[in-house]
């Protein structure tokens, strides 16, 4: 019971610190789980995170389920997952009505427009940083570029998930 409570607390801290998406979370998890708590060895954590990144869903959620399971079985998995999403959901629960209230404000609208373009920069940045980490050879570049062009030219006609699966199957044959 004590262990479960500690898991909840640790992953709530990770949930609050996970600011700006997936890869930001990894050093936090390392600090909390390997450093402060000593629940896992570094190598164990690295392989868990690799799998967390390779499986669908938000990395923070995957990592929480995984570490929770390792530390305290299925109950641990449930508690850690709950802990990692709790801060965001509470903030949204109380904060979203406030955001709605300022939406009609002229100043907030001006600020908001810039924010949206900022997210666009983030998308370009994510494409660049993820792309340069994933693409390691010319063949790999052509696969990634092929996926991009397919999505652009068949926009709305082909489901992006199909493109991912097709590239996975292609990967089995060429890598």
């Amino acid at each position: 019971m004590r262990l479960l409570f500690q898991l909840l607390k640790s992953f709530m801290i990770i949930g609050i610190g996970a600011y700006g998406g997936g890869l930001v979370t990894i050093p936090l998890i390392q600090h909390e789980i390997v450093g402060t708590r000593g629940w896992l060895l570094f190598d164990e954590m690295a392989s868990l995170l690799a799998i967390a990144q390779m499986t669908p869903g938000p990395i923070a959620v995957n990592a929480a389920t995984f570490v929770g399971f390792r530390v305290a079985g299925s109950a641990g998995a449930a508690v850690a997952t709950f802990g990692v999403v709790l801060p965001a959901l509470s903030i949204l629960f109380f904060g979203a009505p406030l955001i709605d209230r300022v939406k009609t404000n002229r100043h907030a609208a001006m600020f908001r427009e810039g924010l949206q373009v900022g997210v666009l920069s983030l998308l370009f940045y994510a494409a660049w940083s993820y792309g340069s980490a994933a693409v390691g050879s010319l063949t790999q570049f052509f696969v990634a570029a092929g996926a991009f062009l397919t999505l652009v030219f068949l926009e709305g006609k082909i489901h992006p998930i199909l493109v991912v699966l097709a590239c996975g199957i292609l990967g089995v044959f060429i890598f």
Partner: protein, 195 residues
């Protein structure tokens, strides 16, 4: 081309079934590798193009809020969009839908499948997937770039954001907030000149 749907179903005040919301987000949670930004392309396909629940501008507005709030961008997006569709209950339905598949998949892997991740075929499959995800993120950037980079003002903000991220290695949240601040002053400047 699939251009500008002027009113989305959520703006038109249509009530969307909870089961449908749950299933849509469950599917998204089940198939999105690579986190929040890779998910943007899939979410837009499902919500904007296929179902017309949300417009492109609503989508981008929710995405900016989702980035500014701590936690997984995917979960925050699900909450905000679910909230737009069906209020608080919609928000929790969508969040649960997007979280549940990762939870179940990881649990199954932890219980049964851990050794298979060493298999070279599985590794090759996942490598192929990761390349498609790079393409998918670029596609999301392309789609929203086409929509937003139509004024000099927005191009300036976007370039500034990229410089902050790539050159100064700024934290993503800092880059987004700076873009907001710059956008605010550029807007004010434009309005003053118009007067």
């Amino acid at each position: 081309m699939t251009e500008e749907r002027t009113t989305s179903l959520s703006e038109a005040g249509e009530r969307i079934d909870f089961l449908q919301i749950f299933w849509t987000y469950f599917k998204i949670g089940l198939f999105t590798l690579g986190g929040g930004f890779a998910m943007a392309a899939i979410l837009r396909h499902e919500l904007v193009l296929k179902r017309g629940w949300i417009s492109d501008y609503e989508f981008m507005s929710e995405m900016s809020t989702a980035t500014l709030i701590p936690g997984a961008v995917a979960v925050n997006m699900a909450y905000l969009q679910g909230r737009r569709l069906r209020g608080k209950r919609g928000a929790f339905t969508a969040s649960l839908g997007v979280i549940l598949p990762s939870f179940l998949i990881i649990l199954l892997i932890a219980l049964f499948a851990l050794p298979y991740f060493q298999n070279p075929h599985v590794k090759a499959f996942l490598k192929g997937c990761s390349l498609a995800i790079a393409g998918q993120i670029a596609y999301a950037a392309f789609v929203f770039g086409r929509k937003y980079l139509n004024t000099l003002h927005n191009i300036i903000i976007c370039v500034l954001g990229l410089v902050l991220l790539l050159v100064f290695k700024a934290h993503p949240v800092f880059a987004v907030v700076s873009a907001g601040v710059l956008g605010y002053f550029l807007c004010r400047h434009r309005e003053k000149r118009a007067e």
